[in-house]
């Protein structure tokens, strides 16, 4: 079972490595969206520092949505999704593996880029640390919940827009607690409460999302 999970993850990593363009697009999108705010709002350091957590988090949500519409669509089109569902291993592992691979490919790079963007907004080192920690706990949630939406909208026309409408409301708790942790640090309070709630939400998602994704895939493929 574990071997199947690892095979699914390695497969997606290999495919992403062969298609660096898709991968880079999402990272550049993240950087671009975040960089637009100082240009639009003006360069007052105090203001930028206050909006930074929210901006980085919202950009992370949008960047993950950008790549999610293709999470199952490519495999569906070339028939490899059917073949993977016909594997003797349970579909829930396939769903979990795809979501984890999505996190490794699209979520982890955001963690690496975020500190640089934090500096751009004039955040202190300890605040940047909390921002990274909140993204570390929060980005798996984006991939896991997103996989549910991607599976539900598979094969639909205009699925990308529908995916956004379905999934963004579900992202709200992650956004509130994630950005809230950084805000609390900025205000001189501890980030622990927000981070704990974010971690609890991540655990809940990890328990539920793969099952829902697997069920949605079965329906979508019929």
């Amino acid at each position: 079972m574990l071997r199947f999970l690892i095979t699914v993850i390695r497969r997606d990593l290999l495919l992403a490595a062969r298609r660096k363009g898709d991968w880079l697009t999402s990272q550049f999108f993240f950087v671009m969206v975040v960089s637009m705010f100082p240009l639009g709002i003006g360069p007052e350091p105090e203001m930028l520092r206050r909006i930074a957590p929210g901006v980085v988090w919202v950009a992370a949500l949008l960047a993950s949505l950008l790549s999610l519409s293709r999470l199952f669509a490519d495999d569906h089109r070339d028939g490899s999704l059917e073949q993977m569902l016909l594997s003797p291993e349970p579909p829930v592992l396939l769903a979990l593996g795809k979501a984890l691979a999505h996190w490794l490919i699209y979520g982890v790079p955001l963690l690496v880029i975020a500190p640089v963007l934090g500096l751009q907004f004039g955040l202190q080192a300890d605040v940047i640390g909390v921002l990274m920690l909140s993204l570390l706990i929060g980005t798996p949630v984006l991939s896991l919940l997103g996989s549910v939406g991607a599976a539900l909208t598979l094969g639909l026309r205009g699925g990308g827009v529908l995916l956004t409408l379905l999934i963004l409301p579900l992202y709200v708790p992650a956004l509130i607690f994630g950005a809230g942790a950084v805000d609390a640090t900025l205000a001189g309070l501890g980030p622990e409460a927000n981070l704990s709630l974010l971690a609890a939400f991540a655990m809940l998602t990890l328990m539920v999302a793969p099952w829902v994704t697997a069920a949605a895939l079965r329906i979508s493929i019929e």
């Binding site: 070339d78 569902l85 003797p88 019929e222």
Partner: protein, 217 residues
């Protein structure tokens, strides 16, 4: 042993949207038999095949494998069954060799490079082993899929139009593969619109929808 029907279908019904495609379908298939599903376009051949492999759920009726409902023996059934649909199920960014080994790994089998290479060579792909599947022609990709079928080691092959895109040599090769598999004790359920010479193969015809008559002018 061969008297036991391995694949049995009872009172199967299938609907697409509002329309019932077929109902009350019954058949049995034993080891060493090939079921040739016939019928016009849109009569439900593909739907039947997808019901048989468990990708779709029937409206009514049951599919049994070795005497048990396939939903209950999913793991064993999927281990012993190989399905080829309209799309090939190979990744464009990987080479044929990588594709074969990846499919095997996902199905929980180990496939060493030599065996994979030999099966690809047998299907006439010796010059494409290291090329990404993206640059291969439609027929060549079909051959990669068939090489995967060969190495899958499945008892039951469910093939939806396997001859699409194959040239004359490809069709002859496929006939050979089918004959080897069925006479070697395997089972095949397939659809095709192309003539296929299957002498010496125990073929069971199955008609879905009315028999097609050639139109007279």
């Amino acid at each position: 042993m061969s008297e036991i029907s391995h694949l049995a279908v009872r009172e199967l019904a299938c609907a697409r949207g509002e329309r019932t495609l077929f109902s009350g379908m019954n058949f049995q298939l034993r080891l060493g038999q090939l079921l040739l599903v016939q019928g016009g376009n849109g009569r439900g051949k593909t739907s039947l095949l997808r019901l048989l492999c468990g990708l779709a759920q029937p409206l009514e009726g049951e599919v049994h494998w070795r005497g048990q409902e396939i939903g209950g023996v999913r793991e064993e059934y999927h281990r012993e069954m190989a399905y080829i649909g309209h799309v090939n199920g190979i990744k464009d960014d990987l080479t044929p060799l990588e594709n074969l080994r990846l499919s095997a790994a996902l199905a929980g089998r180990h496939l060493d490079e030599r065996t994979a290479e030999q099966s690809l060579i047998r299907l006439g792909l010796e010059r494409c082993l290291d090329l990404p599947a993206r640059v291969l022609s439609f027929g060549q990709r079909r051959r990669v899929t068939l090489a995967g079928l060969m190495t899958a080691g499945a008892v039951l092959w469910i093939l939806d139009e396997p001859l699409t895109g194959l040239d004359v040599h490809g069709v002859a090769l496929m006939e050979g593969l089918l004959r080897d598999h069925v006479t070697g004790g395997g089972m095949v359920v397939m659809t095709t619109h192309q003539p296929l010479s299957l002498e010496g193969v125990a073929t069971v015809p199955l008609q879905v929808g009315p028999v097609l008559q050639p139109q007279e002018d």
